[in-house]
């Protein structure tokens, strides 16, 4: 048998084991990405094969955590895709303002870059104190960072530019304190965000939401898992609520699609219809 095939067999065995031992289910992730990440992890792990690594991964939580860190790639940015955030500000926030209190679920928040971006935007649009954001991720380590709200200072230049391109109304540096090499987000921003551990592949929903933001997460899932997660979002979203996906993640062809309309083409901001007729 060729080594590629053998690797795939080992990978499937390992992911099945991980699911049974730790409850983390990666079996419905797109294979090309996960194979690449596991290959990289293996190269730095000191083990020759996945079969060799399997014993310690399944028996030693720390070994598993190290694998988990490589499997969940947590790259993010503040105001990533500025045009998206600008559209959110101009086309979605006016609807949100009609509610006395707004609940937001930000799924797959990584280190919180988008969560803080959204909190800044909502403050500037006058929603301060009138919203709560639940920002969730599968990776507890990045959630810890997100909670602390500390980012490398050297990124701030890029983020400032993104913020301005996204229609920022203030001065970006007012939202953080610069300390040595770090930028610490202000407490008033942090206070409106609840960071929590949540696994989209296995956990259930969070109750009623007005806005759900889940960008560049589903892109890594196979269609079956995408459908599961979208169903979960659909259950939480109130009629007239908004679902935001990454710029390369379309709802077309997915089961919940008939109940949603894309508010601005290409921005992947979908609005759930009020029409109950269309419900399953």
């Amino acid at each position: 048998m060729d080594p590629e095939e053998l690797f795939d067999i080992e990978m499937r065995l390992l992911l099945n084991g991980v699911r049974q031992v730790y409850g983390h289910d990666f079996t419905d992730y797109s294979e090309a990405s996960i194979r690449r990440r596991i290959t990289h992890w293996l190269a730095t792990s000191g083990y020759g094969t996945l079969s060799e690594a399997q014993a310690s991964i399944l028996r030693d939580r720390e070994a598993f955590d190290s694998l988990l860190r490589s499997i969940t790639v947590n790259v993010s940015e503040m105001f990533r895709d500025p045009a998206f955030f600008q559209t959110l500000r101009e086309q979605v926030v006016p609807h949100l303002k009609t509610y006395p209190f707004v609940k937001i679920w930000h799924a797959g928040c990584a280190s919180g870059e988008e969560a803080y971006s959204l909190a800044i935007l909502l403050e500037e649009e006058g929603l301060k104190g009138r919203f709560r954001m639940y920002a969730t991720d599968i990776n507890n380590e990045v959630l810890q960072n997100a909670q602390e709200g500390i980012f490398p200072l050297k990124e701030m230049q890029k983020y400032t530019r993104n913020y301005q391109l996204a229609g920022g109304r203030g001065t970006f540096s007012d939202y953080y304190l610069a300390r040595y090499e770090h930028a610490i987000m202000t407490k008033s921003l942090r206070d409106q965000i609840v960071f929590a551990s949540h696994n989209l592949a296995v956990d259930s929903d969070f109750g009623e939401m007005h806005l759900i933001l889940c960008r560049n997460v589903l892109i890594y899932f196979k269609p079956t898992l995408k459908e599961r997660v979208l169903r979960l979002f659909d259950t939480c979203l109130i009629p007239g609520g908004f679902l935001c996906l990454g710029l390369k993640e379309a709802l077309d062809g997915r089961r919940i699609a008939p109940r949603y309309a894309e508010t601005v083409p290409k921005m992947r901001i979908y609005r759930k219809s009020y029409d109950r007729e269309q419900s399953e």
Binding site: D2, E4, S30, E31, A32, S33, R35, R36, R37, V73, V75, N216, I219, Y220, P223, G246, K248, E249, A250
Partner: protein, 195 residues
């Protein structure tokens, strides 16, 4: 739809950097509209670019050219360009997938990332092409393609706008073909159609 029963190949992957637009116009522009394999392309372009390159090439070329969408099947007779700021990969069932994993050697999309996934997906039924460009993206990927039994084609560095990428590829593997730009499309047509 992926590949054609007469060909021993199932796909072509192409990597290009500096000088890429002109090179792609030449190569993609010379492929027939009914080219029997899917072609996946990584061209290093600005992360802020839109899908302009795909539209431009689609206008100029007989073969259909589009920006790759997630979950799309890599169909024959179509060129799929990696979207700016995303890696393009292909799965074993020939569906395309995108990722926002960190840049690899400063590149996203990365030629290596596409080539490695394609080598895993298609094994010996793959043709990899490295063309003009600065840097060394594509070398590692081409090595993986050769390892899996596929064919390596490299643009002759002598005539390349930027010769570093093809030179690096030639150092990494012994290519099956080193040919000038204008001979790449005819070579692909011949390989794709011979039994």
């Amino acid at each position: 739809m992926t590949g054609n029963s007469q060909s021993k190949f199932r796909a072509v992957v192409v990597g290009v950097s500096s000088g890429g637009v002109e090179a792609l116009k030449q190569v993609i522009g010379s492929l027939p509209g009914d080219f029997p394999l899917p072609v996946m392309v990584v061209a290093h372009i600005s992360p802020e670019a839109d899908n302009g390159l795909a539209l431009l090439l689609d206008d100029l070329c007989a073969i259909r050219v589009k920006e790759a969408d997630e979950l799309e099947k890599a169909a024959a007779g179509t060129v799929f360009l990696a979207p700016p700021n995303y890696h393009l990969q292909v799965e074993k069932d020939a569906t395309l997938s995108l990722s926002v994993d960190p840049p690899v050697r400063f590149a996203r999309p990365s030629v290596d990332v596409l080539f490695e996934a394609a080598a895993d997906a298609f094994g010996p039924a793959l043709i990899g092409v490295v063309m003009t460009g600065a840097g060394c993206d594509g070398s590692e990927g081409l090595r993986r393609i050769k390892e899996a039994g596929g064919i390596a084609v490299v643009q002759d560095p002598a005539g390349a706008v930027a010769d570093a990428m093809p030179r690096s590829a030639i150092e990494a593997v012994v290519p099956d073909y080193i040919v000038p730009l204008e001979r790449i499309a005819p070579l692909l047509v011949r390989l794709a159609t011979e039994p």
